[in-house]
Symmetry: C2
């Protein structure tokens, strides 16, 4: 059964771990995103070697292709994609707003057109739970209504109240699901309320009254200023249950991960390391590096001299620049490998700093060297 | 210094090895193609694990991007691409006909327009040698005039005579080159003469009079019927020097490799395993398998149950089919890895059969099971 243990704190920052029958994941943790049951360009062994203990997959995409029934028939998402560590699936809630067309939200659910072929579909809390049950992920997310930014308080309230009703329906559907044999699933609630502290607190109260294995913060990193995100988190943090993991959805840059941990977050996911890498931009201890730039054509150094990934131990910036210039698929692949490795190594270092009671000084030193771009 | 040893024969089939200061390669050998200094989608460790002892790179492509001067400046192709085993570079001769535009052939060389930006260039035997010297490949190919098919005998004769003159100029330029320090290069001649046995013999005689470390057969696999290719080889084989490696350029399918070995060939290269894999077709012991087909959507078997590559030991056809259906880059990558592994494993098995004096029965058994498509 899913269990979270809080080991140590430093200010609001938390060191801990969650585990289920499949494995144990130390927190704070970054979860690489494998939208279509594949962390783009990377193999399972590469993710394992980089230290990934949990990856994310998207309910919306897998529902459309290849379909949750097929994945269940083949034994669930872990077996299908040959990934034996933990997996979290989102609810599809975010994608039906951001990717699908012509979505129409009612209390029943969200009607939308597939971004692939325009076909009509409707996601409800019950269907989202049924899909995630068939996928057999370790952490299931409730179906929520995400707000965009800017969002007037009256709209935020409507979304919040609907999110609570849907959270209850998600909980009920989850508790009566026809579980995939051999799975051990946890259910997380999602706090909404945009940038309004009182709405966030109300959302959280309503969710904790229902009761979940963990609490995610949704509706942030949707375009608001960074300061608004951090202020919202700071106001919410004291009210979040200490004994449950907290997950800041869709965040972020290396700086964001550190700032999030500082504000009591345990879990993060983001497409940034892989998406940027495919376009020729990687993350290093000195900040972003646009390796496809001609400035690196003669640069024999690795992307990051302090990194131990295959890309950095074997290949030069000059070679990577050549791979991007000639559109060789090995370029996006080696860049993705580095950036995912970098993110995971950063979190390992961060956890060590927490364990040794020096998170504050460690994060100051990291951020002083890291050249941010936001 | 480059050295070839013939260990054993069975009929015309030959077991041997070539070596230089960098390493030793057992023959018959298949050389994966890394056109732009990258075997498409694959990393160096993957190629090493698959048993690749020598890979090919294309002079034409590397001359255009990133340029041979830059590669020399960075220590040569091995250092640039972080590949420490052997490399063969072609002369650029084939690409200026097949890829470039508006090429004009004179005795001086071939004038052509880049397929990338239309810029004008001219390849001569001297320039081809200078480029390959800067690249620092282990095996350098002479600059030749390749014939297409069909090719009237009078045209074949013109190309043959020019190839001989260019082979001599290549030899002279090679022998007086400004070698990249630390390299140990061999020079191979290329026999032309289309499908005419007497022209092939004459081309070979003229080349052996000049003297090369190995002899390639060019101008085959350019559209002629397979029977014409094999008959041409059968007529040529008794005249090829026994003590030098023989290289059939641009060939071929798994069946072709076996048929080529049967006719005394020691070396092969082909883009087929990687190019087909990127489009969702792989090679197995039972023949080609179009894994992107919907027929495999629920197929839990590996691509080839007899294969030990990562793709076959970890992933199902159903998952690979999903990766191709969703255009995930991991699909082309895992398929390429399998097919290159399959080709290299096939050659290892073939060499073992030769060593044990059972090449004939082994090849019959392989071909009986393998469902060809030609």
């Amino acid at each position: 059964m899913f269990r979270f243990t809080l080991e140590k704190t430093e200010g609001a920052a938390r060191l801990g771990a969650f585990e289920n029958a499949r494995g144990r994941v130390e927190t704070p943790v970054f979860m690489p995103v494998g939208t279509q049951a594949s962390v783009k360009t990377l193999s399972g062994p590469e993710l394992e070697d980089a230290g990934a203990g949990i990856i994310l997959a998207n309910t919306y995409h897998l529902y459309l292709r290849p379909g949750h029934a097929l994945i269940r028939e083949l034994g669930g998402l872990h077996k299908f994609s040959a990934w034996n560590r933990l997996m979290l699936t989102d609810s599809g809630g975010f994608q039906v707003y951001s990717l699908a067309n012509l979505n129409k939200i009612t209390d029943q659910g969200v009607r939308f057109q597939s971004h692939l072929d325009g076909s009509y579909h409707e996601f409800t809390p019950e269907l989202s739970m049924a899909i995630q049950t068939d996928l057999g992920s370790d952490i299931v997310m409730v179906f929520d209504q995400c707000t965009t930014w800017p969002c007037p308080p009256e709209d935020a309230l409507v979304a919040l109240e609907r999110t609570t009703r849907w959270a209850l329906r998600s909980r009920q559907a989850f508790d009566t699901r026809n579980a995939l044999p051999g799975t051990d699933q946890a259910l997380f609630g999602i706090v909404q309320g945009s940038v309004y502290p009182e709405l966030r607190r109300r959302s959280l109260e309503e969710l904790t009254a229902i009761g979940f294995d963990g609490y995610a913060v949704g509706g942030l990193a949707v375009g608001e200023p960074k300061s608004a995100m951090w202020e919202t988190l700071e106001a919410l943090e004291p009210h979040l249950p200490k004994e449950r993991p907290r997950y800041l959805m869709g965040v972020g840059t290396p700086e964001d991960l550190i700032e999030g941990v500082k504000r009591g977050i345990d879990m993060f996911d983001c497409v940034l390391p892989t998406r940027n890498a495919r376009k020729g931009t990687v993350f290093t201890r000195d900040g972003r590096l646009v390796v496809k730039n001609s400035a690196y054509a003669r640069d024999e150094r690795p992307l990051d001299p302090d990194c131990n990934c295959l890309t950095c131990t074997r290949y030069s910036r000059a070679y990577l620049r050549h791979l991007f210039a000639t559109e060789e698929l090995l370029g996006p692949r080696l860049a993705s490998l580095h950036s995912v490795y970098f993110y995971l190594a950063l979190m390992t270092e961060l956890r060590t700093a927490l364990r040794e009671g020096r998170f504050d000084s460690w994060s100051r030193r990291f951020l002083a060297r890291y050249r941010g771009t936001d």
